[in-house]
Amino acid sequence: MTDATATKPAAQPKTPLLELRGVSKSFGAVRALTDVDFEVGPGEVVALVGDNGAGKSTLIKAISGIQPGDRYTARFEGNDVNLNTPQDATSLGIATVYQDLALADNLDVVENLFLGSEISGPGGELGLLDETRMEHKALDLLSQLAVTTIRNVRTEVGSLSGGQRQSVSIARSLLGEPKIVMLDEPTAALGVAQTRQVLDLITRLRERGLGVVVISHNLADVFEVADRIIVLRLGQRVATFDRETSTPDQVVAAITGASSNGQKGGQR
């Protein structure tokens, strides 16, 4: 398949923040990713779409270092880097937001935001927590992101709605001052108004100059926030679209493979 190379020049960001070339990943005999290229620029929202098993999550995991690719080259801000462990990704400023997996229901909003990076006094593990400063910073962060739906940051996360929980997850990822935020299905299982909250939040991340990568099944959402749409199919990057100049029909065709017989209408 040469589709990927054929379409690549279409919509490259001028100066990619993160650039991966030739990512391949196998699980035993199953080739989950084959020579996938990927790039995201600052202040750009890239949507990663594809059918189930197309390799979207595998690619996200390869970027976040949780399941590093078997073969790949990566450049971050123009420098060659490794993405072999979660720490590699985190130290570069790549944060990943997992759907619903990253919150502890029994802890409140502040506790969840600072989980694993609590502000505390000296004494290491037995250091005294500085609740006042954490709560103050939490309120600051949420107001910067214009998250107005969480009125009490001492509410247990378990009692929040899906949209509020997703807002907390996203806010949490920003505490480490990342340059790239990757969101895995941020609007799955959310109601209309809650989806709205999350999409607004994604727009605000872009305004802050972050590179944003979104996995989504929902093309309506994708067309609302994404600048560029990358389509994966059977572990390969088959098409890239500019949101401005393409239609959902073209993306669907690429996802399902209906356009793979030489006719690449949607891609410029």
Binding site: D51, N52, Y98, L101, A102, L103, A104, D105, N106, L107, E111, L115, G116, S117, E118, S120, G123, G124, E125, L126, G127, L128, L129, E131, T132, R133, E135, H136, L139, T149, I150, R151, N152, R154, T155, G158, S159, L160, S161, G163, Q164, G191, V192, A193, Q194, R196, H217, N218, L219, A220, P248, D249, V251, V252, I255, T256
Partner: protein, 414 residues
């Protein structure tokens, strides 16, 4: 899932029908009752329970609420309560430790053998027994962590295994009597009235002082604070509880050393669990271990440390039980010791499902369970009745825990 790729236009926007998380609720009777039902006011619930039990037994036997009996009650609950402190830590992780009874017996036996048979001084013997407990905890924690065996199974094996080792350590005689001295003094010495009052006033001052300091800091940072009336009300309640306790204990022999040791351990672990990073990580592991792992918390280390602490506290409880019995024998740490140590915190609101509860539930639960047991002894009920009632109380507590959890889940789904 091809239907996900269709481009159905989004349905028209509607205002979010779900109620967003509200403000801190205004104080009202309805909210208070709801809080009780949902376990948010867990300690108030158990205090009401204790009051109810005391009223019932007092009406049946007027000797129940006497300074003598209440002092005895406190001395009776210390050993189980100390073991419960470790149980709370394990329960907060969503794990269980069924070996605590056997470990308490084994460690008491180790202490007695070193002290009496080998002539070690009391303090080194006690320290050695506690270290032995810690090693046992590390051993069990190792299997739980590295072979991913449920703690239920590992510690069930421990329950039998350590009991066997206890018999082995005690040897042919089977019973070792303790000599008077440090170990026996632990549960038979009392502070003078004046010292008791000083300790009580220091405790109240420390509580009020630290609460006020935190409140000041929040005000200085421009954060919301609890209604001053509620704050003052709680402070007054704590002060009254301490003053009344010291007064009653002084009517008899005074504040027992053992009770101070017990409350000291409860206070230290309550502090660690609620005010330090490590404590926060414990709650996180109990609430969502995967989230904790992804947040960079070393889940394995947290579990390991907690199993060591659990067995260590079991050892300390076993030593106090031996001190009170003046001996260690083959049934030390056996019978219903394990069950009561787990029942206490659960009755007092620590969840069996992890992530919810406080170390204070070890103290309150021990007092509640101890009161029932002490009262039934005063009424000279038979063992048959006592066992059934104790079992019933435990079942009721677990039912409340589960019902609270289901209720919380249904509230969330709504």
């Amino acid at each position: 899932m091809s239907d996900t790729a269709t481009k159905a236009p989004p349905p028209p926007e509607t205002p979010d029908p779900t109620t967003e998380a509200g403000e801190r609720p205004e104080f009202s009777l309805g909210a208070a009752l709801r809080g009780l039902a949902e376990g948010e006011l867990g300690s108030l619930r158990v205090i009401l329970g204790i009051a109810l039990v005391w009223i019932i037994f007092q009406t049946q036997n007027s000797n129940f609420l006497t300074a003598l009996n209440l002092t005895n009650l406190m001395l009776q609950v210390v050993a189980v309560g100390l073991v419960s402190v470790g149980v709370v830590l394990v329960l907060l992780l969503g794990e269980i430790d069924l070996s605590i009874g056997s470990v308490s017996g084994l460690c008491a036996a180790i202490m007695a053998v070193l002290n009496i048979k080998h002539g070690w001084a009391p303090v080194p013997a006690v320290v050695a027994a506690i270290i032995a407990g810690g090693i046992i905890g590390a051993f069990q924690g190792f299997f739980v962590n590295f072979f991913k065996i449920p703690s239920f199974v590992v510690t069930l094996a421990g329950l039998i295994g350590w009991q066997g080792l206890q018999l082995q350590v005690l040897g042919d005689t089977g019973t070792i009597n303790l000599q008077s001295g440090f170990i026996v003094d632990l549960t038979s010495k009392f502070f003078s009235s004046a010292t008791g009052w000083i300790l009580g006033i220091v405790a109240i001052a420390a509580y009020v002082g630290s609460a006020l300091w935190r409140r000041r800091r929040r005000v200085a940072a421009g954060l919301g604070v609890e209604d001053f009336f509620a704050f003052a009300f709680r402070a007054v309640l704590v002060a009254i509880a301490v003053v009344v306790s010291i007064y009653v204990l002084n009517q008899d022999r005074g504040l027992p050393y053992a009770v101070l040791i017990f409350i000291g351990f409860v206070w230290v672990f309550a502090f660690i669990t609620t005010r330090t990073r490590f404590g926060r990580h414990m709650y996180a592991v109990g609430g969502n271990a995967e989230a904790a792992r992804r947040a960079g918390i070393n889940v394995t280390r947290v579990r390991m440390v907690v199993f060591v602490l659990s067995s260590g506290m079991a050892a300390i409880g076993g030593i106090m039980a031996a001190s009170r019995l003046l001996a260690v024998n083959q049934s030390s740490g056996g019978s219903d010791f394990l069950l009561l140590a787990i029942a206490g915190p659960v009755v007092a609101g620590t969840s069996l499902f992890g992530g919810r509860g406080t170390v204070w539930s070890a103290l309150l639960g021990a007092i509640l369970i101890g009161s029932i047991s002490n009262g039934m002894d005063l009424l000279a009920l038979s063992s048959a009745v006592k066992f059934m009632i104790t079992g019933g109380v435990l079942l009721a507590a677990v039912t409340i825990d589960s019902a609270t959890r289901l209720r919380r889940q249904s509230v969330r789904r709504a």
